[in-house]
Symmetry: C2
Subunit: 302 residues, 2 copies
């Protein structure tokens, strides 16, 4: 069972309850608050051997654990407020590992004014495992941006550049919270997602949740200098863990947005939103169109 | 570094932020909501080989993951609303494991009207790992009950009976949410904690957080028929994972409370709250007093 099939299977069976405005399937869940307004919540599990290696610095691993969840909150157009960190420490670990891990987590939290509100510490019979949970909220008077918000006629845009993250960037990236908050204050945003699985997969998620077709122009995709020289476009489409934001905006705002950028980060218009069968079309430099499959990193292969 | 030292080390360094009413050190964090009111949040990591074995049924493990967090929310006098489940599935696992796990989690959620609002699925290079996060809220017009609320003159009470949980009860216990909600509606509660580490440790947490001395009468402690026949009192004090509630109430309410119980669950008055050096005094059947050390299960031994 592949990860997507499993999530679909779970989502169909997951019980709902009063106050759950948006459940499984977006970057965060949206929960109505008792006194009005809402919070968004996301949780991410990072495991040694899957998301980081035993050789990575504990500070980098702790930083990444919090940063990936801040990125999810940013993808909702929200500000992260409170972090929770549950950690399984290997029995053989010395206290320097635990301290390094929390120093890294605190560095990420401090950078974005997030509290470390709670957590859990336990002993792991295997490798290091970390689960971070972030609680955030939209700016006052606004509602969260969903994956389902892309509409035909909008333009498709991305922050920063893509590909080659696994050479080290995936541990020390800066989640795009500042960019996201400026975006929702100053532009008419449609749908948004953060690029964790890779552009091809995450564009597909956005298309499917919005019921639209996304048309991507291959020669507009901003490719990172870190991306593999052998296949830079493949790296930008499939490497994953870029933690940039992919979003749609009113097409008349493209020039202003790509000209000004967001909080010092370049913004590239890479495509457009069309009506039609949900999915992603890739247009190559000769104008040839192919149906782009979700080919980003899949955690499961069976 | 022992678990308590590590938590203390973290708590001293954890950044705070606006809206964090109660942070590290209680059963849940208390977060102020944008529109007023608050939510409580708890996160718990369960690892194969530490909290369950590879031979345990996946349904039982999934149930336990959600139930332990519902128990933490209940210990705040709050109702659980939304659950998040992050799961690391062994590479060798078949889909029956994933399905069984979620069936068990959904069973716990359904029993208490909790939504499954989100989560994360990933591949584990080692054993199964699960992190559950629960969001809850106090009944309307009430505030969460804290570990720091015990006051001299109050009585110390416990739900159910204690000891021997590891013979199987620790996987299929019923978190005391119904009892907790009746308690806060009908009685003047002081401080509360759930018994996860064991009565001796958790009483010590309650005493320390409230700055009081708890005086426990050994022959009043309700011992489970599951507890070891060789040392039933030791089992009740140290086994852990009972997931009962330990709380203090106004002493004039003892007779009514122990007579009526809570939601069909027996309540036993096992001691009293005194001023003095924070800690726990155990009074044996001959009236001899000893200072009770936190001797419950410690995840760390170094």
């Amino acid at each position: 069972m592949k990860e997507l099939e499993l999530i679909h299977w779970i989502a169909e069976r997951a019980p709902s309850a009063a106050g759950l405005a948006t459940g499984i399937g977006d970057d965060c869940a949206v929960l109505d608050c008792p006194g009005g307004g809402c919070v968004v919540v996301t949780t991410d599990m990072l495991l040694e051997g899957t998301h980081f290696s035993a050789d990575d610095l504990p500070e980098d691993v702790g930083y990444k654990a919090v940063a990936v969840s801040i990125s999810d909150v940013a993808a909702m157009g929200c500000r992260s407020l409170h972090a929770f960190l549950a950690v399984g420490l290997p029995a053989v670990a010395d206290s320097a590992l635990a301290r390094g891990l929390f120093d890294g987590a605190v560095a990420a939290a401090n950078r974005f004014g997030v509290s470390l509100a709670g957590g859990d510490t336990t002993r792991s019979p295997g490798g290091l495992s970390i689960c971070s949970t972030l609680v955030g909220a939209p700016p006052e008077g606004r509602t969260p941006i969903l994956r389902s918000g892309a509409r035909p006629g909008q333009a498709l845009a991305v922050t920063g550049d893509l590909g080659g993250s696994l050479s080290g960037h995936h541990l020390r990236f800066v989640p795009r919270q500042t960019e996201a908050l400026q975006l929702v204050e100053e532009y008419a945003v449609g749908g948004m997602i953060d690029l964790s699985d890779g552009l091809s997969s995450d564009a597909w998620h956005l298309a499917r949740m919005s019921g639209v077709r996304l048309r991507l122009f291959a020669d507009r995709i901003p490719i990172s200098p870190r991306a593999s020289a052998a296949d830079p476009l493949g790296a930008a489409l499939n490497d994953g863990e870029d933690f940039e934001l992919l979003f749609t905006v009113a097409s008349e705002e493209c020039a202003r947005l790509s000209g000004a950028g967001l909080a010092g980060t370049p913004i590239t218009i890479i495509g457009e939103v069309l009506a039609g069968t949900p999915g992603v079309t890739l247009v190559d430099s000769s104008g040839r169109e192919t149906d782009l499959k979700a080919g980003g990193y899949e955690h499961f292969s069976r």
